[in-house]
């Protein structure tokens, strides 16, 4: 059995502007997202001001997502949904795009090609 060494999860929070000038919180994930990533993920999410209604999840630097990691992303999306926040995602590999669709996450976040498309996709 070949177990891969786990990469540290990191979240960097940026700000962008939507077409209407409203703020967008951009959460840039990197490393592996697994069961140990909870604090980092939710810590990053908490850094976005509560008044920001638009979020972009950047997965372009995520190396690996296992089922526990998917569970965390689902939880994050549920939290955003509950707070009436809209989420666009980009940077997922074709494999994880399929996984996202498989677990029905495309109902809670739209998968976009890149950051510009993701930011432009917010229509209020």
């Amino acid at each position: 059995m070949t177990m891969q060494p786990q990469l540290i999860t990191r979240v960097h929070v940026d700000q962008a502007k939507a077409g209407d000038g409203s703020p967008i919180g951009v959460l840039r994930f990197s490393g592996d997202i697994t069961s140990t990533s909870r604090d980092v993920l939710f810590g990053g999410y908490a850094e976005v001001p509560a008044t920001t209604r638009k979020l972009v999840f950047d997965f372009s630097k995520v190396e690996y997502l296992n089922s526990s990691g998917i569970a965390l992303v689902i939880e994050l999306l549920m939290a955003a949904n509950k707070a009436d926040r809209k989420v666009q995602s980009f940077g997922l590999s074709p494999h994880f795009q399929k996984v996202f669709i498989m677990v029905g996450l495309n109902k809670y976040t739209h998968l976009q090609a890149d950051e510009a498309t993701a930011c432009a996709a917010f229509v209020d």
Binding site: Y64, N66, S67, I74, E75, H95, I101, L105
Partner: protein, 700 residues
Amino acid sequence: MTANGNVFCTHLRKAGIYVLTLLAWTAAITPGASAQTRTVASASVPASNALHITLGQAIVPLTGPWKFHTGDNPRWADANFNDEDWQTMDLTPPAGSVDPGLGTSGYIPGWTAKGHPEAVGYAWYRLRVYVSGDSGQLALLMPIDVDDGYQVYCNGHLLGAFGDFSVQRPRTYYGQPMIFRLPLATADETAAPGAAREIVLALRFYMKPADLIEDPTPGGLHGPPQLGSAVVAQAYYTLQRSVLARTYNLYSIPILVFLLAGLAALTLYMLDRRDRVFLWLGAAALSNVLYMTFTLSAILTTLISDRLIILRPLLLTLVLWAWLMAWYVWFDLGQMRWLRRLIYSLAALQMALQIIQAMFFGRGMNPAASFGPWDIASRAVNLLLGLVPLIILYYGWRQRKREGKWAAFALILFLLALFPRPLVWLHIPLIWFAFGVQISTRLVLELVVSLWLLLLLILRFQLSQQVQQQLQNEMHQAQQIQQTLLPEAPATLPGFHIESMYRPAAEVGGDFFQILPSTDGGLLVVIGDVSGKGLRAAMLVSLIIGTLRTLAEQDLSPGKLLEGLNRRLHKRMEGGFATCVCARITPDGKMTLANAGHLAPYLDGVEVEVPTDLPMGIITGIDYEERSYVVPPGSRLVFMTDGIVEARNKNGELYGFDRTAILARETIAEIVRTAQHFGQEDDITVVGLIREGSSAPAHI
């Protein structure tokens, strides 16, 4: 050279100096020397500001009167230079003078206590000596306690140096015994037997600015140089060296014990990576070894100059950081994330401040930097770092009283070893003698801490083994429960040929599947995966299978069955979820599918397009959409869990959906074997089902 803001090194150095000072003064009061002093008093010599000595087979401390001047001028080395207007300086210890570091007597304050409080950089001492008596070769034995480097001139000729004066700002080292043989030509200058010979000694000193804040009274000589027969001086020099070595060799004991403890801790961590306390204790012990070895190398050798000494406070911060983390983990304070952040922040800040001071402000070289805001900030952070162990101790004791007392003892000793000042307040001597050997209290503390650490490691490992054994037993029981819940394969139902393989990963995983007969003669196939692993996953699988069997008796459609399962799992998954695909197949080959976030099945190697929704256990009220298909006679359906698509090879590459689709045409044994060979990371479950009939033969 004085320790750069560090108590440990100062005390180590001063401990050695103390013994060597005793030796020096012992040499000076030998009967021979006393007799010679009397001879000096009766000698008739030409100069008033000169020392008159008569040498036998002894060495004599040159207490003065020395002439002293701050600044630097190459002419001051000249034997004929007129130094009459220079300050006169006596190197006899003042009555009642004590070493500010150790409290020992016989200390001579430096030039900053003699009218030059701000003087740093160069300064010169000169002494005219008239030597009578034995005319053999002479040697000058320099004191070990000096600030910081010096060059020795005799009658205008450079004899040698302690420190590297070839660069603009001399490189200096911790004080060490030094001997300089006076040239034979000097001894041969004797005009007539019994007449006094004139020797002009000039000592060019360099003191770095940082000494001003690290010693109360720094500056040049803290003891008198000694002049005498080269044979005797050499004997004393050898004795000083051997005393120094003997004194510090004792420190090799705690270093070796720390090394042993560190290696043992890291080995234990390799054996059991779940207990990070071994990692941190190993890191702490080995960083201590590094720090102590570095310090001893600086004291006993000239490998480490003042340029490199900046590494020592950095190493000390590293040691402190590793120890704080070790105790933080030991006391199981993981939930106090603020404390961990505090430790990391203070350690990083301290290192950054030290590097900034060294690189940009010439800490130790630039007086302004030595007293500047960066230095004050660094000292403030150091103080805060010193308080963190007390916070750990307070919360740790509350958290784990039983084990805490053992670790608390080690922590208190460790703190005292690092910051021994409270011992002085309690009048506990830092230096004492046992059986004629000098012992440092700090050395004893280091030794006890290192041995205690070994003991703690053994206790912790025993405890860890017990817990691990208990966990293994629980896991084994969970695996047995899971195995009994999963159907035995191969199973055969009329009209269908079924085979399944389940290959768990190292831990108890969350895969599950059920193949149940329907009342209409058909089949209900359910396969799924609970996120997470271990006992919790196994218990959730038990819950799912129990619920599933209950619901299956009601002959519900796949969508309704998933809805029922989802309802019962909601709020019981603790942030996790369960994916599941459910298929009901009638005897005539009609298949109804519903999917809760699981990998779709493959029909004759083609992925079945099935609408999917969120996995179960996340939110309630999901209507899982159903879709109907036909499984022709002879066709083959393959259900699997994500252990296939998420198999990863050594390069981290996933097996992926494309390869899985191709692999789905193979036998289930081959599917499992291929995924395992590629790199199994998760449980693997594959269920193959052939609808018996007259179409082309299919293989499972």
